[in-house]
């Protein structure tokens, strides 16, 4: 043992905490055996992230579970000071009373960010969670969420992420409206949800599931929307109201910059009576990605067209076509491209990506429309799902015929 002085223990606490937060929680706690000064240095860390890597691996699930529970309880008991972040992501823990106790402890220690990703199993969120009023971020996965009647929402919540949560729709709506500062909302894996979202500060919306009806009632600041909409087989459910869904959904988001839609989203938007023009122009919309658009359905194509033409600053467009049905619908509408949008220009469009193109009339006309209206177009990338070589060839020939307004436009044809 030499005479060298201790290099590190006397650094200011802020630096040591900086170092300890960059270690995994296990390593950080293990520093407590280094020397007397280090014994409790870890105990004031405010961010605790737990997962099954915190304990020794084992083939026996029950062992890992017990160890993990013991570890977390031990850490919480020895911890000093406030805990701002608590992340628990493990499939090993499902439904245990210990979690309730931890949440109670956290609720008394000023928790701000809570992430609970448990394994499958209906863990019922305890009521102490609803008293954590300093929460700014809440993420729950595989839980049961049942707020008490007196719950008014989290007044500081900025980010809400609920995945596969068992909850009543009224509870979600009141939760969302009770969080005035909400900026990020993600709801996934829900069934048959009828939702009306009113969040004045909401900027990012991510929806994934089977929604019957979504109404963006008051979301003026939305910047990005991503919706994966699954549907019942019974489409008739949707065609109840005469409101144009496109207007209902996207009518109140003037600041939108990115729109992404999967599965039946475009179909959902197309339902209702088309009033002609859209009420607003999306000046900031730069990216549109609509997948699984059925080009056989004139209404869906119309939705696509309307969105594209009401976005003067659109830069990137990605569309994927859904496979053609066995009984194709009538293709009567390809003149709508020429009818209304003769002199239309898409002044900023640079990249277009069309995938799963089957070569039907509407698809080709759409591409022709784009190529004829985009003066700065650089690349049109087309991927086809046709297996028949001849049909593919035909399509390529057809595409090559289209006039291009942009001198730099390239038509790239990719094999699937």
């Amino acid at each position: 043992m030499g005479e060298s002085p201790d290099l590190i223990s006397d650094l200011p606490q802020s630096i040591l905490e900086n170092i300890l937060t960059r270690l995994s929680l296990r390593d950080a706690i293990r520093t407590s055996v280094l020397s007397t000064k280090w014994r409790y240095k870890w105990s004031t860390l405010t961010d605790l992230m737990f997962d099954e890597k915190c304990v020794a691996p084992s083939t026996d699930r029950a062992v890992v579970e017990t160890n993990l529970v013991r570890f977390i309880t031990g850490v919480l008991l020895l911890h000093q000071g406030p805990i701002h972040k608590f992340h628990l992501s493990t499939s090993f823990l499902q439904c245990r009373p210990d979690i309730d106790q931890w949440l109670l402890f956290l609720s008394r220690n000023g928790i701000k960010e809570l992430v609970l990703e448990l394994g499958e199993g209906e863990f019922r969120v305890p009521s102490c969670l609803f008293s954590c009023l300093k929460l700014t971020r809440l993420e729950l996965c595989h839980c049961e969420f049942d707020p008490p009647k007196s719950f008014n929402g989290f007044s500081s919540l900025k980010s809400l992420n609920l995945h596969q949560i068992l909850v009543s729709p009224e509870a979600i709506e009141s939760l969302i409206s009770g969080c005035p500062l909400l900026e990020f909302l993600s709801l996934s894996y829900f069934d048959s949800l009828v939702l009306s979202i009113s969040a004045p500060n909401l900027m990012y919306l991510y929806l994934d599931g089977e929604f019957k009806d979504i109404f963006l009632e008051n979301t003026p600041k939305l910047v990005a929307i991503s919706v994966s909409m699954y549907m019942h087989e019974d489409v008739a459910d949707f065609e109840q109201s005469s409101d144009y869904n496109l207007v209902k959904f996207l009518g109140g988001v003037p600041l939108l910059e990115k729109l992404v839609g999967y599965i039946y989203f475009t179909k959902y938007l197309s339902i209702g009576d088309d009033p002609g023009r859209l009420p607003i122009t999306y000046i900031h919309l730069k990216t549109i990605e609509l997948y699984q658009v059925s080009f056989e359905d004139a209404n869906e194509v119309l939705v696509l067209l309307r969105l594209v033409t009401h976005s003067p600053n659109l830069k990137e467009l990605k569309v994927s076509a859904s496979p053609i049905q066995l009984f194709p619908l009538e293709e009567e509408s390809f003149d709508l491209f020429e009818r209304d949008y003769l002199d239309y220009k898409l002044p900023r469009l640079e990249t277009v990506r069309m995938t799963d193109v089957s070569g039907i009339r509407n698809e080709l006309e759409f591409i022709r429309f784009l190529m004829g209206t985009s003066p700065v177009l650089e690349a049109v990338v087309v991927t086809s799902s046709l297996s028949d070589k001849d049909a593919r060839m035909e399509m390529v020939v057809e595409l090559l015929r289209f006039p291009r307004v942009s001198p730099r436009a390239q038509l790239l044809f990719l094999q699937d």
């Binding site: 650094l11 170092i19 020794a56």
Partner: protein, 462 residues
């Protein structure tokens, strides 16, 4: 720096204005203004005190204490690179990675200096580098790198998660331990042997050799020495995992080395514990078969390692030879016949218990000790868990010591029971853990009450 700043500074750049900085050792240097202004602290100083500050040698800006000239030049190099606005992120990252390659001492100094100059990106960079150094290393390696003193007592190391600071017993233990250590060192010097790596085991030996004495001889001998234990019995009941575990290991260690040795420990006048008076120097050769001795040594080492590693929350794969040293004092002090039993129990485990097919077999064995009802050892999935239960907790309940990855070699010979009650469950070979657990729980409950009763029985004996 923002473009506005650059615009303002540009005309001054023409004149190449300099700022004078003074470090605590008195040396003053001249630095280009835009480079120095990259550090927020210097920037504030200049802005606060007006542009006169730092403009000449006389009114140089004095830097905080932690910034020595070497660090200052490093930091200025960093600033010189980064304050140029036209660099891409990738370039900056590459530069940072190269920049941060230095020995640990300088890294720590750099972090400290950057922090006092409030240069957050550099603080983050050096913290990241230090974290990279620390992660994944064993405590010994970390101590060596950073020259940390190894001043935790062995007990504290074993149970880092327990707050032992205020426990008077622990202070006592520490003192005893230190004393014993010193004595051993001296003795070793006399014997001329290499002591360092053996000191702990020795102290274990010597502190608990009296247990062995009791193991071998009639248990009553030891018991008779504890006449004044009546009052302490209650406190003895308060068992720590620590003590009992150490107990276990010490006892095994004991058996490994000096069966029959008698050691002299100074007797403790202090209230809580009375020392087992006869502790003494450990490594008395008792004429054991060396092969057996070696096997037992290995056993103990293993046991100790597992013990240590599990309590230091290290992963199962860690097989570093964490030096296992027990604060033997504690164990000695708390030695009761009950712990003697544990000793004999372990002894039997190691010596006289045949354990075929260890893996996947759940066994339950009742060890019966002369004056107590039951002892249980249950091994569940032999390669991973041993539960020694039956020691009393503070309320008289059970204490559980999960020892991970304990590997017991096969011993030869059958277990020796004496006075086994009729209703025992003996050597239950049970391949299903559940059944084992159930039966185990049953006995556990019985054990709780029986231990209590045992202790009350035992108490009057002293």
């Amino acid at each position: 720096m923002s473009e506005a700043d650059m615009a303002i500074i540009k005309p001054e750049m023409m004149m190449k204005s300099y700022i004078w900085l003074e470090t605590t050792d008195g040396s003053i240097q001249q630095v280009e203004q835009e480079i120095a202004m990259y550090c927020p602290m210097i920037c504030h100083e200049v802005l606060q005190k007006g542009l006169g500050a730092g403009s000449s040698k006389n009114c140089a800006i004095s830097l905080p204490q932690r910034v020595n000239p070497a660090m200052l030049s490093l930091i200025l190099d960093y600033c010189r690179f980064h304050q140029v606005p036209g660099r891409s992120n990738k370039e900056r990252k590459v530069h940072d990675e190269k920049f941060i390659r230095m020995d640990t001492k300088r890294l720590c100094e750099l972090a400290s200096a950057a922090d006092s100059l409030q240069l957050k990106p550099l603080v983050d960079l050096s913290s990241r580098a230090l974290a990279r150094i620390i992660e994944g290393k064993t405590p010994e390696e970390i101590r060596e790198i950073f020259h940390l003193p190894d001043d935790l007592t062995e007990e504290e190391k074993l149970e880092p998660l327990k707050n032992l600071m205020d426990d008077p017993r622990i202070r006592l233990l520490n003192r005893l331990y230190a004393k014993k250590r010193k004595e051993l060192k001296e003795r070793e010097k006399l014997k001329g042997k290499e002591v360092e790596e053996r000191v702990d085991e020795r102290s274990v030996d010597d502190l608990l050799s009296f247990i062995n004495g009791k193991d071998h001889k009639v248990v009553k001998t030891s018991k008779s020495k504890k006449k004044n234990r009546k009052r302490k019995e209650h406190k003895n009941k308060v068992s720590h995992n620590l003590h009992s575990k150490q107990q276990g290991v010490q006892i095994v260690d004991e058996t490994a080395s000096s069966l029959g040795g008698v050691s002299n420990l100074p007797s403790m006048e202090e209230d809580i514990f009375s020392l087992k008076t006869d502790s003494e120097d450990g490594y008395v050769d008792d004429g054991m078969d060396p092969v057996l001795k070696e096997m037992l040594d290995r056993e103990v080492e293993d046991f100790a390692r597992r013990l240590n590693s599990s309590w230091v929350l290290s992963s199962g794969q860690e097989r570093q030879p964490v030096h296992f040293s027990i604060n033997g004092n504690g164990a000695t002090r708390r030695l009761t016949a009950f712990q003697v039993m544990l000793g004999s129990l372990i002894l039997l485990m190691v010596f006289g218990w045949q354990v075929p097919e260890f893996c996947g077999v759940t066994r339950k064995v009742i060890m019966h000790s002369p004056s107590s009802p039951h002892w249980w050892i249950s091994t569940v999935k032999g390669n991973s868990r041993v539960r020694i239960s039956g020691l009393t907790g503070t309320e008289g309940g059970d204490e559980w010591f999960d020892l991970f990855n304990i590997i017991l070699d096969e011993a030869s010979g059958l277990p020796k029971f004496d006075n086994v009650p009729a209703n025992r469950e003996e050597l239950v070979r049970d391949d299903s853990t559940q059944a084992a657990e159930r039966a185990y729980n049953r006995v556990e409950r019985a054990l709780t009450s029986s231990i209590l009763s045992f202790l009350t029985l035992v108490a009057p004996m002293y």
